[in-house]
């Protein structure tokens, strides 16, 4: 192996504390180093050219750049060496700026020693690097969209228009989701179905959209680029090709009436029915639960479309990406017993009032008391029912109910100017473009706003009374109303649980699907190739649901439009000779990338390279292509080769949070002791107990492992696994007489440079108290472990 080492001055950023020229001289003494130079600014054009020339002239195999953080310039130098003909992965960086010169400004001599160690570690790893090739893989150009609400519809149209093939699978007999059932919608009060119906029809007519309604997905296999989806289309007992959608003929003669789920129980439908007049597809459906098989509809159908012997049909297709747009379900307001829903007929929900206000609804648009059928003269809206309420397990705000109450209260007021309409609220949340103006309009129209959570709804002498504390005027009040509307919150859709389980999606504590990062990756799931849009990832209004549908579509296009996928070569690989098929890795893998058929098999497209499996494997049969066991162990040995300082710490920092946190300590010039030699790993879960033992054996006084804060792991649960392993390891150490406090695991976010610095300071202090490694064994009279040469 012929290695070139480049030590950067970075102006005075490095050279102000360290001596690059003597570091260069030091590098020249290391094995395999063919050439070493110090450069003013290695990332400058001149610096880059020097490296390139050296690669050619000295026939270098790999390159070490001792400069800033790899998180900053690794891509730059990978490009540079590949321009000179080297494989881009033949690069290793020693971080002597963010994690050395900037954080040890007051201790140049110790910093210099640390820099030497960091270079020795980098050279040791560089000697073991292998060229890696990101394989390309052809991908399916199809996209599955689960859920035909407004989010799914929008995603389907965007994708199909861009030339990808869409399979839109909807559980219900029609697409449209909840939006199809709402009356006018905020913030502009346009008629909901009028703006949605054209999109629904476009979906139906689009040549690149295969629409499957009344269908259930039963299985999803494979990974990004090549998922295989299968399921069934339930029998409608109506021939889709024959049915003309006239519905009156068949439903007119059907003798069975059941509560209409599309009217939220306010109206009735027949056993043969059309969900809504604008149903897409416009095909009747027989409800097998309700049908008594009398045959009247079949006789009445002018085109003989009713087929009682119809069977469900299976389907199966391949796609490259999946968009989960499974929406939400309503909080069951009967759970708030004090509000009397289900006991008092005139207590209804926000969704029910949407239907009452709808001209196509069960009352032709009249807002009536269900108990009497008379128009309600006084109406109360009760906010936050089932939201912001720990007694029902929902801490979160449902985000749209303030706005829909602010929409429906004025709609009632406009229709019946004499009606008394009040909104009982805790806070009114109208954040969004045009939303505050919407709120003010409701105020101008004379809607009453009463602040205070309602304590109960009771029925006194046949009349509803709302009891509450008015927290603005002070005092307890009781007010009679004709109609009470509960603004029930939005909950995670239970019907989507199957999909979540099939794909291995994780859920937040609020039970909605979790996105890969709460800010930065709003529509990506933890699983590659899977996106989440609309209310499936939390309550949101139509506008944002559409935006997310569009974003998920764009992400899918980016993934699939080229027709092939270049895979990241930093993945796990299995030594099938060693593998014993124990399946521990399958359980460990957060990306569901490993399967076992006698021996383990890594799906390289799905693997994200965290390395948790490699640390978990009991027989070392799994290793990583980069950050391999061999490379990390070589770094550990190089780190402990000299041990110029006491206490001496080997650190393992996860790339996403802790390493970035350490870099931040550098950019913020937070000073901390020079005792730690940090090794970058992709995830704290990568840290194999063997690495820790190697460090202690080599004479390190302590090992610090730092991962993302719990719950924030880039790979979802790697830090928990690291924690478990450390606990076990500490137990073992204690048994053999080594102070378990020598192995420490801490959490540090990328924004917490100060925390990382503090942890190092504390650990140094703790280790000083413990004394050099092995002290405890000497006390016990056990022979010292090898390597304890102090």
């Amino acid at each position: 192996m012929r290695i070139g080492v480049y030590v950067c001055h970075c102006g005075l950023n490095i050279a102000g504390v360290l001596e690059p020229s003597s570091l260069t001289e030091f590098a020249k003494t290391l094995p395999d180093v063919e050439v070493a130079r110090d450069l003013q600014f290695t990332c400058s054009d001149t610096g880059q050219e020097t490296i390139k020339e050296d690669i050619v002239e000295h026939k270098l195999d790999s390159v070490v750049v001792a400069a800033c953080s790899p998180r900053l310039h690794e891509p730059t130098f990978r490009r540079v060496i590949s321009e000179a003909g080297l494989n881009p992965f033949m690069l290793e960086m020693a971080n002597i700026r963010e994690q050395c010169s900037w954080v040890h400004m007051d201790e140049p001599p110790q910093a210099q020693e640390k820099a030497k160690d960091l270079i020795r570690m980098a050279v040791a790893k560089a000697a073991l690097l292998n060229p890696l090739q990101g394989e390309t893989m052809p991908v399916s150009r199809g996209v599955l969209i689960v859920g035909g609400g407004v989010a799914g519809i929008q995603a389907a149209l965007d994708l199909a228009d861009s030339g990808l093939h869409v399979y839109l699978v909807e559980r219900k007999p029609t697409i449209g989701g909840y939006m199809a059932l709402l009356t006018d919608v905020f913030p502009t009060n346009d008629c909901s179905i009028c703006v949605l119906a054209p999109k629904m029809t476009d979906v139906y007519n689009h040549p690149l959209i295969t629409l499957m309604t009344y269908a259930e997905i039963l299985n999803i296999e494979g990974s990004v680029g090549r998922f295989t989806v299968s399921g069934v289309k339930k029998a409608r007992f109506v021939d889709e090709k024959l049915c003309k959608g006239c519905i009156n003929e068949c439903a007119g003669v059907c003798p069975v009436e059941v509560p209409d789920e599309y009217e939220f129980g306010l109206g009735k439908r027949k056993a043969i029915y059309m969900p809504i007049p604008q149903s897409v597809p416009l095909i009747a459906c027989v409800d097998p639960e309700a049908c008594i098989g009398c045959g009247l509809c079949s006789e009445a159908c002018p085109v003989d479309a009713v087929k009682y012997d119809q069977r469900q049909e299976e389907f199966r297709f391949d796609v490259g990406a999946i968009i989960v747009a499974t929406g939400w379900q309503s909080f069951d307001p009967a759970r708030k017993e004090e509000y009397g829903y289900g006991r008092f007929r005139d207590v209804i929900t926000g969704l029910q009032v949407e239907r009452l206000l709808n001209a196509a609804g069960p009352t032709g648009g009249e807002v009536v008391r269900p108990s009497t059928g008379e128009v309600a003269k006084s109406v109360a809206f009760l906010q936050c029912v089932g939201s912001r309420d720990e007694t029902v397990g929902n801490q979160y705000c449902s985000r749209v109910c303030c706005m829909y109450a602010l929409k429906n209260a004025p709609l009632i007021k406009e229709k019946y100017p004499d009606a008394e309409v009040s909104i009982h609220y805790i806070d009114l949340r109208a954040g969004g473009e045009g939303y505050e103006e919407f709120y003010m309009r409701a105020q101008r129209l004379g809607v009453n706003f009463i602040r205070g959570r309602v304590s109960e709804v009771e029925k006194v002498d046949g009349h509803l009374r709302v009891n509450y504390e008015d927290t603005l005027l002070g005092g307890f009040r009781s007010k009679p109303y004709d109609l009470v509307v509960l603004s029930a919150g939005l909950e995670a859709n239970k019907e989507a649980d199957v999909i979540g389980n099939l794909l291995g999606l994780s859920k937040r504590p609020d039970r909605f699907f979790e996105i890969a990062h709460p800010k930065m990756r709003p529509v990506e799931a933890h699983i590659d190739g899977v996106f989440i849009a609309g209310c499936a990832s939390g309550p949101k209004e139509i506008q944002v649901s559409i935006a997310q549908g569009e974003a998920a579509a764009a992400k899918s296009m980016r993934l699939l439009l080229r027709g092939e996928l270049t895979l990241d070569p930093v993945v796990a690989m299995v030594d099938t000779e060693k593998c014993i098929g124990c399946k521990l890795c399958v359980e460990t893998c957060p990306s569901k990338a490993i399967s076992v058929d006698k021996t383990a098999l890594v799906d390289e497209a799905a693997c994200k390279g965290c390395g948790t499996c490699a640390a978990a494997c009991p027989v070392d049969a799994i290793d990583m292509r980069l950050f391999s066991d061999e490379q990390i162990l070589a770094q550990v040995r190089a780190a402990t080769a000299v041990k110029g300082q006491y206490p001496f710490i080997v650190g393992f920092l996860c790339n996403w949070c802790s390493y970035a946190g350490a870099d931040l300590a550098g950019t913020s010039r937070i000073q901390y002791p020079t005792n730690m030699r940090a090794i970058r790993v992709m995830c704290a879960g990568r840290v194999d107990p063997a690495f820790v033992i190697e460090a202690l054996k080599g004479g390190a006084d302590g090992v610090l492992i730092s991962g993302c804060r719990l719950g924030e792991c880039h790979y979802s649960k790697g830090n928990y696994q690291a924690y478990q392993r450390v606990q076990v390891l500490r137990g073992v150490l204690e048994k053999v007489g080594i102070n378990p406090g020598r192995v420490k695991i801490v959490w540090c976010a990328a924004s917490e440079g100060e925390i990382l610095a503090k942890e190092v300071r504390t650990f140094v202090r703790e280790l000083k108290e413990m004394g050099p490694v092995g002290t405890e064994l000497r006390v016990l009279g056990v022979p010292e472990p090898p390597g304890g040469d102090r």
Partner: protein, 292 residues
């Protein structure tokens, strides 16, 4: 069935008739009670200090291996609340520092209404126990606030039905008593007497309007507020209420055939004679019918 009996302080003061009738009813139902040795306050007097009130309750719980029965809703609620708090490791550690016997696992704690309901439910022949069904009597089921709280216990905290069901089992008829869940105002009676009186009179009026012959109470504080207080309220509002307030155990005892004395009925402030008379009259009628 054998249970540990937690009397609570009121049983030995203003609520003597509750204890008397509780012991009598349990005897009649074949429920053996073993009073917790050296019991102390349930913690209600120290609710403002979480650790003290929880430790007080815990000290009672650890003094027995048996499931614990309390008849006072406040005690019952405190014991349950303490068990919920004690699930928190930190609270448990702090509480255990103060206890000689440590609190380890959860206990079964029940209210006497559960004990009665369960015993009757398990009876092979209900008629053997309910020898004097309360036919013809109308009872207003008064829950008060603490029997069902903290939630997740006996019954729904907002709209429970366990008392109505018991009333029916005993042969009487529960009335539609809208204010059955209203607080008896015991805790605010001293500082907010006016507000408390207003609420109490509403509760009593509502119970009377519901057509009840008597109100059933589950808690000595509720009983005190509605029973002992009733003459004062009558005077204050210048109206006659005259509504007997029976403890659930007194009502059950009557149906089990126990005598007024055994149930301490003469100790109630509002005379319970009207109830007894109505019961006798109904029995007379029933007997006549049987004879014909």
């Amino acid at each position: 069935m054998k249970l540990a009996y937690y009397p609570g302080c009121v049983a030995r003061s203003t609520g003597r008739e509750y204890e008397i009738s509780t012991l009598a009813v349990c005897r009649a139902l074949g429920v053996e009670l073993e009073e917790i040795d050296d019991w102390n306050c349930c913690g209600a007097t120290h609710v403002s200090n979480e650790i003290v009130s929880t430790a007080l309750a815990a000290r009672n719980l650890v003094r027995t291996e048996l499931p614990v029965m309390a008849s006072c809703s406040i005690c019952y609620s405190r014991l349950r609340a303490a068990m919920i708090r004690l699930k928190d490791r930190k609270v448990r550690e702090r509480v255990n520092e103060a206890l000689e016997v440590k609190y380890e696992g959860e206990k079964d704690v029940e209210h006497v209404i559960e004990t009665i309901t369960k015993s009757l439910g398990e009876a092979e022949d209900l008629e053997d126990l309910v020898v004097r069904p309360l036919a013809g009597l109308k009872a207003a089921p008064y829950y008060g606030c603490l029997l069902t709280r903290p939630g997740g216990g006996i019954d729904s905290p907002e709209n429970p039905s366990i008392l109505e069901n018991l009333i029916r089992t005993l042969g009487a008829e529960p009335t539609d008593f809208r204010l059955k869940m209203k607080c008896c105002c015991g805790p605010i009676f001293m500082p907010e007497e006016e507000a408390a009186a207003e609420t109490l009179i509403r509760i009593l009026r509502n119970a009377k309007e519901s057509g009840a012959d008597f109100v059933v109470a589950l808690c000595p504080l509720c009983h005190l507020m509605l029973d002992a207080n009733q003459p004062l309220l009558e005077k204050k509002f210048g109206e006659k209420i005259d509504l007997p307030i029976l403890y659930v155990t007194q009502m059950a005892g009557l149906a089990l055939g126990l005598g007024a004395e055994e149930l301490g009925l003469e100790m109630n402030s509002v005379s319970t004679r009207s109830v007894l008379e109505k019961l006798e009259a109904a029995e007379g009628e029933g007997a006549e019918k049987e004879l014909c």
